[in-house]
Amino acid sequence: MMIERNASPTAPHTPLVWGWGALLLGVCLSLTGFVALLRAFSALFR
């Protein structure tokens, strides 16, 4: 709700909102993926 109210296609800070979103999502997903990858590797070489 808050996001929809604050971000609008013409608002100058919209790219900032996208940037934060990309960073947050990227960190969370990549972290999950890389930890899973590490875990899989450690299981492979155990």
């Binding site: 972290l31 999950t32 890389f34």
Partner: protein
């Protein structure tokens, strides 16, 4: 300059909307592959569920309907949570990552245009109403051609009753005999008059009777609706009182 650039960027992002998600979730694929080689089913299932959720969310985002970004964010949260819990074995921390994925997706797709799906077309009126409209239109055409004001008034009163019924098809069965009689009667009178018949003196009071009966019917439909509303209001008031509000 800046608004133009932003508008262009939004157009580009709208065009490619959703493809970022599988791209960001792509490390889950080699993890699933290595997990398969290691024979760790839990890792494989978690990673595949996480990647599958990103594909599902992307598909939902591509549709671009109102509320799709919110739904995609929930899918991403569930997928990331599952991948974190099962694939990465992060335990409670998977919930934090799921929350991050949710808010990340919400922010990433904020302000991208979503269209509202067009409302469903209203159901077509019952065949009886369509026929009655067409027949009454023919009667009115005859009345206009002859300059017969009484026939025109009678047909228009019946037309009003028909239009009132068009919005309430559930009442049509009860009123059907009355409607058929009125429309049939007017149609026959109009046909005879069109064929050159001289109107008998009884026709004028008969048309007045048609008009009065149709207006009464129209009024009765409204009265019944008002009575039903009054009953509903009384019922609701009593229920509220009984509930102690």
């Amino acid at each position: 300059m800046w608004p133009d650039f932003l508008a262009g960027w939004i157009r580009l992002r709208t065009q490619w909307r959703g493809f970022e998600l599988p791209l960001l979730a792509s490390p889950l694929l080699p993890a699933a592959f290595i997990g398969t080689l290691a024979g760790e089913q839990r890792i494989v299932v978690g990673c595949l569920l996480g990647f599958g959720a990103s594909l599902l969310a992307a598909r939902r985002l591509r549709r671009g309907r109102l509320g799709d970004a919110r739904f995609a964010a929930w899918i991403m949260a569930v997928g990331t949570g599952l991948a974190g819990f099962m694939g990465a074995g992060l335990g409670f921390f998977a919930l934090v990552l799921a929350a991050g994925a949710f808010f990340g997706t919400r922010h990433l797709f904020a302000a991208l245009p979503e269209h509202v799906p067009p409302p469903a077309p209203p159901p077509p009126p019952p065949a009886a109403i369509v026929q009655a409209r067409a027949r009454l239109a023919r009667v009115m055409a005859v009345a206009d051609a002859r300059g017969d004001a009484r026939l025109r008034i009678a047909a228009s009163a019946v037309q009003d009753a028909v239009e009132e019924l068009a919005g309430r098809p559930d009442r049509l069965t009860a009123v059907q005999p009355f409607l058929s009689m009125q429309v049939d009667g007017l149609e026959r009178i109009a046909a005879r008059l069109a064929n050159g018949a001289t109107p008998p003196p009884e026709l004028t009071p008969l048309l007045d009777d048609f008009t009065t009966a149709a207006r009464d019917r129209h009024e009765r439909i409204r009265r019944d609706e008002s009575a039903a509303l009054a009953l509903h209001v009384q019922h609701l008031t009593e229920r509220l009182r009984a509930a102690g509000y």
